[in-house]
């Protein structure tokens, strides 16, 4: 693969700051506090995993970072600018793909540039480059329904990355995939992230996944979600599947399991 599709647009940015954020969900009398007084920062280029039990509000935080949810108190900024509404600057990948069924793969990926009125030839070229980057060269003319789950998530990632986002937000993107595909997709993600270093906030409830992917893990408590630990991972990159059996990995895994078990029930 020659040439990096994001070259020339790379910004040394993507500094996320979440300060004292609370988020309410639900309508008036049924409203509840999903996130309470949450603060953390993500350094430019860092791959951060938000890890927590289901219902801890980690996806809610991500929704607020994406600009799809309003925060009740506190502030969220990206490179100093407050987050207000969705933007291609903050690319979001969901657990279930949201590819447009009526668009071929290449047109799905080229959607962002089309919205920016990039010329057709240019945006299709960019789409082809990104599809090659995620390992889907040759699938440009398929419809999403014709692809496997893992391939659909690759297209989704390409469609977000084509906008050169300053931060990549991933909401359990691989949890609907089978174990083998999930492991492969984790490797694919790390590979892409190495080629296009982008600040990434990755939400998961899978401890192995978080330990394998992240530079840093923020462990969240049960609802309302608070930070219960902030762990910087010592593992070298590039990482390989064997990592999960190394003593350091197992030790950290045991530590995180303890944290989560402690708060369970």
């Amino acid at each position: 693969m020659s040439g990096d599709p994001a070259d020339g647009h790379r910004r040394p940015s993507g500094h996320v700051k979440v300060s004292r954020v609370s988020i309410m969900l639900g309508e008036s009398d049924k409203a509840f506090q999903a996130v309470d007084d949450l603060s953390f920062e993500v350094a430019p280029g860092e791959l951060l995993c938000l890890l927590g039990p289901s219902g801890c509000g980690k996806s809610t935080v991500l929704g607020a970072l994406a600009g799809h949810l309003e925060i009740a108190t506190g502030a969220i900024t990206l490179d100093g600018e407050p987050v207000a509404g969705p933007s291609p600057d903050r690319g979001l990948v969901f657990q279930q793909h949201t590819l447009f069924p009526w668009k071929k793969v290449r047109h799905n990926v080229a959607f962002g540039p089309k919205m920016r009125r990039v010329a057709r030839r240019e945006r299709l070229k960019a789409a082809a480059d990104l599809l090659a980057l995620v390992g889907l060269a040759g699938f440009e003319d398929f419809y999403p329904a014709q692809l496997s789950g893992g391939m659909q998530q690759r297209v989704e990632i390409a469609r977000v990355l084509i906008n050169h986002p300053r931060v990549l937000l991933m909401d359990e993107p691989f949890s609907a995939l089978d174990a083998l595909t999930r492991a492969r997709m984790q490797q694919v993600l790390l590979d892409i992230w190495t080629r296009i270093p982008t600040t990434t906030v990755f939400v998961t409830h899978d401890i192995d996944e978080a330990l394998f992917l992240a530079d840093r893990i923020i462990v969240m408590s049960h609802r309302p979600g608070r930070v219960i630990d902030d762990i910087r991972l010592p593992f070298a990159r590039p990482r390989h599947a064997d990592l999960v059996t190394e003593p350091d990995f197992v030790r950290l895994k045991r530590h995180v399991m303890g944290l989560l078990r402690h708060r369970d029930t």
Partner: protein, 263 residues
């Protein structure tokens, strides 16, 4: 290997079934079968109907009748399609439009289109216009309601994701809402096409001067009984043809709707 002969047998059975129906009809008509409540005394046999059909096919009358029926359907149905889709999208997308437009439409909806015939003859000065109006009314409601349904059921996640990728309101309408609602819209168009023909034929029987419904009714009043059945067959063929045209259009417009499974 066994499938081929089995297919052939099935087709033979199907053909025989049609043949048997025609045979029964021929027998009942030529024998002037009288079953008390039902009598075949005035029913023409298929052979006579075929002869009458050949006569009509050769005469310029056919094109005149078909032409005026088709022109009415194109005008009435075409207007209903344009207005119905536009109203349906507005109602489905905007709460204000829904509050403003839906109540009167909901009140008018339960009235069957053919019940509009007397009033529309009074309202419109030309009978031509009144017939076009009936085909319009017949098609309008199914098209509006299916469009509203389709638009309202577009996956909200797709809209959110399009917004995230930088789509504005107009782009989301064009790129997400319209294609997302397209299958429901095409269903509405197909249902509307059926009711449109039904209403047209009825209106033509009552107030027409040309047209295939008028032809059929005229045949009855002139006691050309074979022509009645010819008229019925032509009406059936037109309905079949237009619904085939719509399905093909749907397939061309929505290639993603039934993609062949790859890999």
């Amino acid at each position: 290997m066994a499938t081929r002969p089995r297919q052939a047998v099935r087709w033979a059975i199907r053909a025989a079934s049609i043949g048997a129906c025609l045979g029964l009809w021929q027998f009942a008509a030529t024998a002037h079968l009288n079953l008390g409540a039902v009598t075949f005394r005035n029913v023409p046999p298929p052979t006579e109907v075929a002869e009458a059909a050949m006569v009509l096919l050769r005469s310029p009358k056919l094109m005149a009748h078909l032409g005026s029926s088709l022109a009415r359907v194109f005008a009435g149905y075409g207007a209903a399609a344009l207005l119905g889709i536009a109203l349906g999208i507005a109602i489905g997308r905007s709460r204000a439009a829904s509050d403003l437009l839906l109540p009167p439409l909901e009140l008018l909806r339960p009235i069957p289109a053919v019940a509009w015939i007397p009033l529309s003859i009074l309202i419109f000065t030309s009978s031509e216009m009144s017939m076009i109006f009936i085909t319009f009314i017949g098609a309008l409601f199914p098209i509006i309601l299916n469009t509203v349904h389709g638009v309202a059921n577009v996956d909200q996640r797709l809209i959110a994701s399009a917004r995230s990728l930088g789509g504005n309101r107009l782009a989301i309408l064009q790129e997400i809402v319209l294609p997302g609602a397209a299958p429901a819209i095409v269903t509405g168009l197909a249902i509307g096409m059926g009711t449109s023909w039904f209403c047209l034929v009825t209106a033509e029987m009552i107030s027409g001067q040309f047209g295939i419904g008028y032809y059929t009714w005229e045949a009855y009043t002139l006691q050309n009984y074979a022509d009645i059945v010819v008229g019925m067959l032509v009406i059936g063929l037109m309905g079949m043809g237009s619904s085939w045209a719509l399905t093909s259009l749907g397939r061309v417009l929505m290639p993603w709707h039934r993609p062949s499974a790859a890999r």
